[in-house]
Symmetry: C2
Subunit: 149 residues, 2 copies
């Protein structure tokens, strides 16, 4: 479970300083939950609580949080990097169904891939630390609309 205090401690342990800017950033991070946020969106949230904070600070903080393994970069081809909070405790990844019509991203919890992973590690001599599955298609809202196309 990632709460603010844990993150703050981890920052100090890394030799990073805990500034008001970072505190606010972490706060907003928590409110964003499991969403796929862009740096811009994070920045907007932070600015609401403290208009003084600069964009580059957010970028730098995001970099640190990524190095710490607290957030992961995702790419949904919408022009900017997106991140999401990692679930540190469980090695339980989720996948994304991406609607090519409306762009909606549906999350899917399913560890179907464990068998595949084992096979890869054996056959390919590759040590797996993470994986990412994106499935493109039409969501239920868009399927009907598109049908006659």
């Amino acid at each position: 479970m990632n709460n603010e205090n844990q993150i703050v401690d981890a920052l100090r342990k890394r030799g990073n300083k805990v500034t008001p800017q970072r505190l606010v950033t972490i706060e907003v991070l928590m409110t964003l939950g499991q969403q796929h946020f862009s740096v811009e969106e994070l920045f907007q949230g932070v600015k609401q609580r403290n208009p003084e904070v600069g964009m580059s600070t957010i970028y730098r903080t995001v970099q640190i949080l990524e190095e710490m393994g607290l957030i992961t970069k995702r790419n949904f081809d919408d022009g900017f990097a997106r991140y999401e909070l990692c679930e540190l405790d469980e090695k339980h990844w989720h996948h994304h169904l991406i609607c090519v019509k409306c762009g909606k991203v549906i999350e899917m919890q399913d560890d179907f891939l464990e068998a595949l992973e084992k096979e890869i590690e054996e056959k390919k001599d590759f040590i797996i630390i993470n994986h990412e599955l994106k499935v493109y298609g039409y969501c239920s809202d868009c399927y009907g609309i598109t049908k006659g196309e």
Copy 2:
């Protein structure tokens, strides 16, 4: 099978014109084969054969080829979009093992995911048209090196 003539025909059928620039671009595309090429790399290849061609022409041609479904955009987080030739005939996707140490990308042919796809289509009410699996980890060259880290 995608040969140059097929692509040329498809271009004309779409109402696009077949210019020398596009011919060279397609030529180079063939030599790049199944590699994951960036627009810059494609541009370099084209420039060797015809130094007059401008970068924006390559970008525009790549856009058209993508719309035509002949190439697909991939993202390996190295700063720019990468593309690869599609295999039109077979619905036979391949996946990527990405080494987080040296950046090497290993391709993997395996249609393990068909069962998963069926389940998604049923459970999630989602019509799948494509998928993309990226597996991050250490390749055989880097595993030993990293071991003692």
